[in-house]
């Protein structure tokens, strides 16, 4: 069992951990001005929406990002609508997965 790439895993940990840990471990975070907290409160909706949008609208092919239009858009919108309407994320997820699976099985996605 070759394990030479475990060193690379440790190197990647060293590249990842600081961005995960710095704000959490920084002393005096609670003494930041109120506008900073107002800003941080909005980070959640902004970055989650960015993750969702980039995931369904941008596809990287041959190292080049391209705009993608597909059934996944509708699936994600259906999930959003059902989650807001029913106040239940699971219902939205099941509908999104089902819609995508069926449309792919039918060859329309």
């Amino acid at each position: 069992m070759n394990g030479s790439l475990v060193i690379l895993a440790l190197l990647m940990f060293a590249a990842t951990y600081p961005s995960r840990a710095l704000p959490l471990l920084a002393p005096g975070f609670e003494r930041l001005p109120r506008p900073v907290f107002a800003y941080l409160r909005l980070v959640g909706p902004a970055i989650l929406a960015a993750l969702a949008a980039v995931n369904v609208m941008v596809v990287t092919a041959d190292g080049r990002p391209t705009f993608h239009v597909g059934m996944e858009w509708l699936a994600v919108l259906v999930c959003l609508g059902l989650t807001v309407w029913r106040r239940n994320l699971l219902v939205g997820l099941v509908a999104a997965v089902g819609l995508t699976a069926i449309s792919r099985a039918l060859g329309i996605a």
């Binding site: 069992m1 070759n2 394990g3 030479s4 790439l5 475990v6 690379l8 895993a9 190197l11 990647m12 590249a15 990842t16 951990y17 961005s19 995960r20 840990a21 710095l22 704000p23 959490l24 471990l25 609670e30 506008p35 907290f37 107002a38 800003y39 941080l40 909005l42 980070v43 959640g44 909706p45 902004a46 970055i47 989650l48 929406a49 960015a50 993750l51 969702a52 949008a53 980039v54 995931n55 369904v56 609208m57 941008v58 990002p65 705009f67 996944e72 699936a75 994600v76 999930c79 959003l80 989650t83 939205g92 999104a96 997965v97 089902g98 819609l99 995508t100 699976a101 069926i102 792919r104």
Partner: protein
């Protein structure tokens, strides 16, 4: 499965999932290793790809400031897209910090399944059909947008989310998805803050019943603690 195809040994694949524990970076690393990219370059690309965690950590820091530093150090290692999304939505809905909720989100719903899936992929990857066939690839974006919707409390949140999504896509197309997501996460809140404060009483302090009620589901009731802090919903 990707690691197996790229020639990773089972030990190496499992080490990546436990030590790095960052899905997008792991998938990228598989391609880099297969393409013979130099390790220092992989280090830099990994730091860029995972820069968004800085925003997650900053957004969670106010909630977790009373957690002992040793536990915060472990919390940091387990911080992923999914753990952040589930936790920030849970904290906002409860109106208070629930450290146990973080561990459940980070370990129960992410770390253990991710590592189990790695082992299954390494051992039986060739027997498993592509998850796209079952539509499972939309679970991630659908869950992210659903959890974002749960965080929407006023129009500032709406503008931050819409701007974050638009900026994220545009910058992704111009540069790369990893830069786009960070740009969306940075600029979306600025657009939200550009709006005047919502009319009505000032926002409630985090951790109070009034703050919790702003995010609560219909029919959820909160008990007032002695110090004014909200108790778990009943």
């Amino acid at each position: 499965m990707s690691a197996q195809r790229a020639g990773f040994s089972p030990l190496e694949a499992i080490a990546f999932s436990t030590i790095v524990f960052a899905g997008a970076a792991q998938f990228a690393a598989v391609g880099y290793v297969a393409g013979g990219v130099a390790w220092p370059v992989i280090f830099l690309l990994t730091a860029l790809l995972n820069a968004r965690h800085l925003l997650y950590s900053a957004a969670l820091a106010p909630w977790l400031r009373d957690v002992p530093i040793g536990r915060r150090a472990v919390i940091a290692h387990l911080l992923t897209d999914e753990a952040f999304a589930l936790t920030i939505a849970h904290f906002a809905r409860a109106g208070r910090t629930d450290e146990r909720g973080y561990w459940l989100a980070a370990i129960g719903s992410t770390f253990i399944p991710w590592n189990l899936a790695t082992i299954v992929g390494v051992l039986a990857g060739q027997e498993i059909p592509g998850p796209e066939r079952f539509g499972l690839d939309v679970v991630f974006p659908a869950a992210m947008i659903g959890l974002a919707a749960g965080l929407i409390a006023d129009r500032r949140d709406v503008v931050a989310a819409a701007t974050g999504a638009a900026v994220g896509v545009l910058v992704s197309l111009a540069l790369s998805p990893s830069v786009g997501i960070v740009a969306g996460g940075l600029l979306g809140p600025l657009a939200g803050l550009a709006l005047p404060s919502p009319a009505g009483p000032p926002p409630a302090e985090l951790g109070t019943v009034r703050s919790a009620e702003g995010f609560s589901m219909p029919g959820t009731h909160y008990e007032q603690g002695d110090d004014g802090a909200g108790e778990a919903p009943r």
